[in-house]
């Protein structure tokens, strides 16, 4: 579904991604794990068109999307839930969801999908008229995910959904990620919480200082000594 071939991405002079290649197949959950500053978010930003790769190609559904504008990429079915949720804080929950459907024109479908999001995250339904900046971190994460789903993505990019959340909320969010995936959305999940990420993923990549250093099925990586030592802690 998504094929990233040997991309290099720079932030000014910093070589943030070095010759990175990954692949995501339809209906998979693929996770990318790595430490702070390894280049995880950079990769997602490049996929969603916020950054342009200096070299290499990104193909999605056998179309080349590197260098395309962000809005074209959203239109083609890739939604990105950014790190730190980035909800529109001075707007209500419902307005945030409406903006998620910005490129859609089917009013009835949008209404139905807002209702679906409220089914998935009942707390958002209760707070639909509340300004999203007043929500708790977990609720904001749910809103950011709901907002991304409003675009009806085929591929959902999630950037550290567990960041700063209580373990119980993280568990809830990960269950919802699995649910979304079972309903047919392919997921590329970026995480520092390697334990949680590997427990729901089909396949995984490990990134270190801009390079992919390991890849395999989630099970293989869970058992790999290298991953255990570096990311799963002393178990």
């Amino acid at each position: 579904m998504l094929k990233v071939n040997n991309i290099d991405v720079f932030y000014g002079n910093i070589h943030a991604l070095k010759d990175v290649s990954i692949e995501v197949n339809e209906s998979e959950i693929v996770t990318l794990i790595g430490a702070n500053g390894a280049g995880k978010s950079t990769l997602l930003k490049t996929l969603s068109g916020l950054l342009k790769p200096k070299s290499g190609t990104i193909s999605y559904l056998s179309q080349q999307i590197n260098g395309k504008q962000a809005q074209a990429i959203v239109k083609s079915g890739i939604s990105h839930v950014p790190e730190g949720r980035r909800v529109f804080s001075n707007m209500t929950v419902e307005e945030n969801l409406e903006l998620g459907a910005y490129l859609r024109k089917d009013r009835d479908g949008i209404k139905k999908d807002i209702a679906n999001v409220y089914d998935l995250f009942p707390i958002l339904g209760e707070r639909r008229k509340q300004q999203s900046g007043t929500l708790s971190g977990g609720e904001q994460q749910m809103l950011a995910m709901g907002r991304a789903l409003m675009a009806k993505p085929k591929l959902l990019l999630l950037d550290e959904p567990s960041m700063g959340l209580a373990p119980l909320i993280v568990k809830q969010i990960f269950e919802i990620i699995q649910m979304v995936n079972q309903q047919g959305t392919t997921v590329l999940l970026v995480e520092q919480n390697a334990n949680m990420a590997l427990s729901i993923a089909d396949r995984a990549y490990v990134i270190e200082t801009g390079k992919i250093v390991l890849s395999g099925t989630a099970k293989e990586l869970q058992e790999s000594e290298q991953v255990k030592a570096a990311y799963l802690g002393a178990l």
């Binding site: 950014p82 804080s89 903006l99 708790s136 675009a151």
Partner: protein, 291 residues
């Protein structure tokens, strides 16, 4: 009773400031630029209205609409030509460019038609209307009505339409807006178009009210509208409306007390006070954040 007349006058002046201040505040909200050329778009609006009325012989309302449309186009051209390429430049570079655009518009106008005054024809009925026993000029009332309609229209656009929601989203977080599929460039252009259209409307209203227009007429009202925007909290739309009205009323009150020479000074004293006491303005943006 004279007080009420003065108050109405103050609100009329204030509504002109408010219309210009809206453009300042919207543009600042979305690209964090103080668009100092905005007062000159107001001036162009006044002249466009003047030409429409005298050459094409149209009435006040058609002149207002023609001026708004042309000013919207001018605003977008200014943004695309001068500011767009400076998006990632330092803010001071963009600010200096804005001042440059301002001078360019003023002196191009003077170059082509000279610095002389032009007198607006009487386009609004000028009679006294009795409102609750107080005589108020019909001009003031009409201007107030037009301004209120424009402000309601703006509120509707910003809160209910798709482009309005996009504008708010971009001003809150441009990258997140991109991820929603919002075309940030077009949204910024739309903001300039709407702000400039309001300045154009203010220009025609100014001409019809004060009758005299000239190429440098935008400088002082532009600065005052900027003060109004800061007073209300820059980036805040209701704030700009209230700031404009407050400024207009304060100025009129200062004049009514017999200190007309201090009128302009009053505006700048307000600016200084607000910057010292509450730099975020009366309605300063309170971005509630929770981590």
């Amino acid at each position: 009773m004279e007080w009420i007349q003065q108050l109405v006058n103050g609100i009329s002046v204030g509504s002109i400031y408010a219309l210009i201040a809206l453009g300042y505040t919207m543009v600042y909200g979305i690209i964090k630029l103080i668009n100092f050329a905005h007062g000159d778009v107001f001036m162009l609006g006044a002249f466009i209205g003047f030409f429409a009325i005298t050459r094409w012989d149209v009435g006040f309302l058609p002149a207002l609409i023609i001026s708004m449309v042309l000013c919207a186009i001018i605003g977008v051209i200014i943004e695309r030509v001068a500011y767009k390429r400076l998006r990632s430049a330092t803010r001071i570079a963009a600010l200096i460019t804005a001042i440059g655009v301002s001078f360019l518009i003023e002196y191009t106008m003077i170059f082509f038609r000279g610095p002389g005054l032009e007198t607006y024809p009487e386009v609004l009925p000028n009679t006294s209307i009795d409102v609750f026993g107080v005589s108020v000029s019909s001009k003031s009332i009409l201007i107030l009505i037009v301004t209120i309609i424009l402000m309601i229209l703006l509120q509707f656009i910003v809160h209910k339409t798709k482009i309005g929601k996009a504008m708010r989203a971009v001003s809150l977080d441009a990258d997140a807006a991109r991820l929603m599929g919002i075309n940030v460039d077009n949204t910024i252009s739309a903001t300039f178009a709407i702000g400039s259209a309001l300045a154009g409307a203010a220009g025609v209203i100014f001409g019809a009210y004060y009758t005299r227009i000239e190429p440098l007429m935008g400088v002082l009202p532009g600065l005052k509208a900027f003060i109004a925007a800061v007073l209300g909290g820059i980036g805040n739309i209701p704030g700009a409306m209230v700031g404009g009205l407050v400024l207009g009323v304060v100025e009129t009150v200062v004049s009514a007390f017999g200190f007309s020479l201090w009128r302009d000074a009053a505006a700048f004293i307000i600016l200084i006070l607000i910057l010292i006491l509450k730099p975020s303005g009366l309605f300063g943006k309170n971005t509630r954040e929770k981590v």
